[in-house]
């Protein structure tokens, strides 16, 4: 291995490990195709977000300590989830004895699309993906990590995933009526506020279906899992994919 190749610690959120291994494999393969050296630390578990968002940040000290120890040795940490990355950056409980390493981990962790556009400085991915897609902008990536401009603020328009996908041959990117409304997953919210959560998910899916979308593409499997749960139950004829799968497929 050349020394100027960054060594990436691959962080795979627990529900992706358990339910969506293909998304993790696509992330790994995509990063390797883009010339990165990638290691998946086998001892990793969860970032602690589900607990913290439920009001138990204080109970995530052990999980946090473990996370920092697993990942402090890498040049970068990359994850296919805006939500988990935001948690590491903003909601980990502060650990005094690991302060230096914690700061390092928090400054070196990137969501997959921002790592490719901002660190690897890749303008767009070349390949083919002949499908009509609708993009689901997950809130934590959108408004937390600012992976795209949102409709609330008066900013210049941009979208890092769109930037990467825009050159794909045959791909049609559909404009939604409500471009960046939340899907209603929200971690424990999906269970504690079940009625609103499901209604939000149904509304989001309907927006894609109205536009004739074949595949709903997103950057957070948690949102997609929630929406997939509804599309399967309601027998909606639409697929859901992580953009890592799209890009990895397009590149091969």
């Amino acid at each position: 291995m050349q020394s100027n190749i960054p060594h990436i610690g691959l962080f795979i959120p627990c529900y992706i490990d358990q339910f969506y291994p293909n998304v993790a494999i696509a992330t790994l393969e995509l990063l390797e195709k883009l010339g990165c050296k990638v290691t998946y630390p086998l001892g990793q578990t969860c970032c602690g977000q589900p607990m913290a968002n439920a009001g138990f940040e204080i109970e995530t000290k052990g999980t946090t300590e473990k996370f920092i120890k697993d990942f402090a040795e890498f040049d970068y940490i990359v994850a296919p989830s805006g939500s988990c990355v935001l948690h590491i950056k903003e909601h980990q409980p502060h650990l005094k004895k690991l302060a230096k390493n914690q700061q390092y981990v928090q400054s070196k962790i990137f969501e997959l699309s921002e790592f490719i556009t901002d660190v690897l400085r890749i303008e767009s991915i070349e390949g083919s993906f002949p499908h009509k897609i609708g993009f689901h902008s997950s809130c934590h990536g959108l408004r937390g990590l600012r992976l795209a401009s949102d409709t609330e603020r008066n900013d210049k328009e941009y979208n890092k995933v769109h930037q990467l996908m825009k050159e794909l041959k045959g791909m049609e990117w559909v404009e939604l009526t409500r471009k960046d409304e939340c899907c209603g997953f929200g971690g424990t919210f999906s269970v504690t506020e079940e009625a609103v959560s499901v209604q939000m998910g149904k509304d989001r899916i309907a927006d894609h279906m109205d536009k004739g979308v074949e595949i709903i593409v997103g950057g957070d499997m948690s949102c997609l899992m929630h929406m997939q749960g509804i599309t399967i139950r309601d027998k909606e004829n639409v697929q859901l994919m992580h953009f890592a799968e799209v890009l990895n497929q397009a590149l091969s």
Partner: protein, 452 residues
């Protein structure tokens, strides 16, 4: 008070819930259109946020400046520590004037202090003159939104109410016709009232004046006819200088309704000859909130309601589901400060999507404060079932082996158990959603086989 239960009830009437969501979404879209015509919009938000930050850091100083200058202008300034004092001050003034009927222009503060029932118990007729307020007053309902108090009602509902209360034609839903009927009815009330009450949008320390923003002109109509004007102001509604209004007035209406400015921005500086002007400065828990570092800047709020219009939960659960005077995201960070136990479900009535923080014209980090309230609430609740589950989860995620085993057990059971067991009534997730199909192996297993 449980938000989830109220929300589920609201969603039972599917077509009405959809209508509610779409109606408020239109307001949000109007707001989007108008803010994109202002290239310096984000700068305005920054400035407004900084001015409020500064004001809150010297609140005592500016309040005393306001009192001094207002008094010099001939305004009678009162201080109310809480809702009861606020109501008593108003009751006393009304008694002095031998007044039995008053008109009031929308003031969420008087809602917060429950002024109407207090005055009604004293035998005083209170007429809310804002059209939306008057409609819900007929129904004996509280406002469901702080700017559009009757937004939960359709034209046909209002037609029915007016038919009963104002004897309009049954079934006539023409807004012009209905508004005309309300006008005639209110005109009579305006002419009878000797005392008029209003809220305050901005108190200006430098000049000792205050500003009331309305669209209907009802506040002005009320106070110009009455001999006595009582204005009720939360102590956070303060700005240092008159020129700061150039920022706040541009932000307020655009954020609230998408208008470039409210129709009436009336400055009240001194009483007209022979008349009285009172200003009540109300604390009612605000200094307590000021003392809470993480929640202090919730006091920057200028009550535009934009966070309600944008909130995907508010739009689908309605204002009443929150059970608090101020509903929606901002209410969910203000209310727990008033009664943590009563409002403990409100900070959880959010996906933390952050839309509220990004529409907020004074840049309150609403969704981050919701997150912080969650931490406070679980601490205050002590050991709970959820707490124990979370402790277990932390133990689980600390140990790779335990994580692997429990993941394996969960995946195995999902694979092998019949659907009737997986989708039992205790599985809330599965009521309207399937669980993801279970893959043959985890990524970890795949990685060990293929990459190690």
């Amino acid at each position: 008070m449980s938000h989830p239960a109220n929300a589920a009830l609201f969603l039972k009437d599917q077509s009405r819930a959809k209508w509610h969501d779409e109606t408020l979404w239109i307001v949000r879209q109007k707001r989007d259109l108008t803010i994109h015509q202002i290239p310096e919009w984000e700068q305005l938000r920054d400035l407004a946020s900084q001015i409020k930050e500064h004001t809150l850091s010297k609140l005592d100083f500016y309040l005393e400046e306001l009192e001094r200058n207002a008094t010099a202008n001939g305004i009678k300034v009162h201080w109310a520590e809480n809702a009861a004092e606020h109501n008593e001050i108003i009751g006393r003034i009304i008694d002095e004037k031998n007044c039995t009927a008053i008109v009031k222009s929308k003031s969420i503060l008087t809602e917060e202090c429950h002024l109407n029932p207090f005055l009604e118990a004293k035998g005083i007729e209170v007429v809310d003159t804002d059209l939306g307020e008057r409609i819900i007053q007929f129904l004996k309902q509280p406002p469901s939104h702080i700017v559009m108090p009757a937004i939960h009602l359709k034209k046909s509902d209002i037609s029915d109410i007016f038919h009963e209360k104002l004897q309009t034609e049954k079934g006539n839903i023409d807004p012009v016709y209905l508004t005309q009927a309300a006008r005639l009815h209110l005109r009579e009330k305006f002419l009878q009232a000797k005392v008029a009450i209003t809220g305050v949008n901005f108190g200006v320390a430098e000049t000792g004046e205050f500003v009331v923003c309305t669209n209907e002109g009802n506040a002005d109509m009320g106070v110009h006819i009455a001999d006595t004007h009582i204005a009720c102001m939360g102590i956070e509604k303060l700005i240092p200088r008159r020129k700061d209004l150039g920022i706040f007035l541009r932000l307020l209406a655009r954020s609230a309704t998408g208008q470039s400015i409210t129709n009436y921005n009336s400055h009240f500086r001194s009483p007209a000859p022979g008349k009285e002007l009172h200003l009540i400065l109300v604390n009612n828990g605000r200094t307590k909130q000021l003392g809470r570092e993480k929640f202090r800047n919730s006091l920057k709020c200028i009550r535009c309601g934009a966070c309600m219009n944008t909130c995907p939960i508010y739009r689908r659960s309605g204002g009443f589901s929150y059970g608090s005077t101020v509903p929606g995201p901002i209410g969910s960070i203000l209310s727990p400060g008033i009664d943590l136990k009563k409002y403990s479900t409100l900070p959880f009535a959010s996906t933390l999507c952050g839309s509220c923080s990004d529409v907020c014209p004074v840049k309150i980090n609403i969704h981050e404060q919701l997150y912080e309230w969650r931490q406070e609430i679980t601490k205050a609740q002590g050991t709970s079932a959820k707490g124990i589950a979370m402790k277990l989860a932390n133990g689980l995620f600390q140990s790779p082996l335990a994580y692997r085993l429990s993941g394996k057990a969960m995946r195995a059971s999902l694979k092998n158990l019949p659907n009737s067991v997986i989708y039992n009534p205790l599985n809330v997730w599965g009521k309207s959603r399937d669980l993801p199909p279970v893959p043959t192996e985890t990524f970890k297993e795949w990685y060990k086989k293929n990459k190690k």
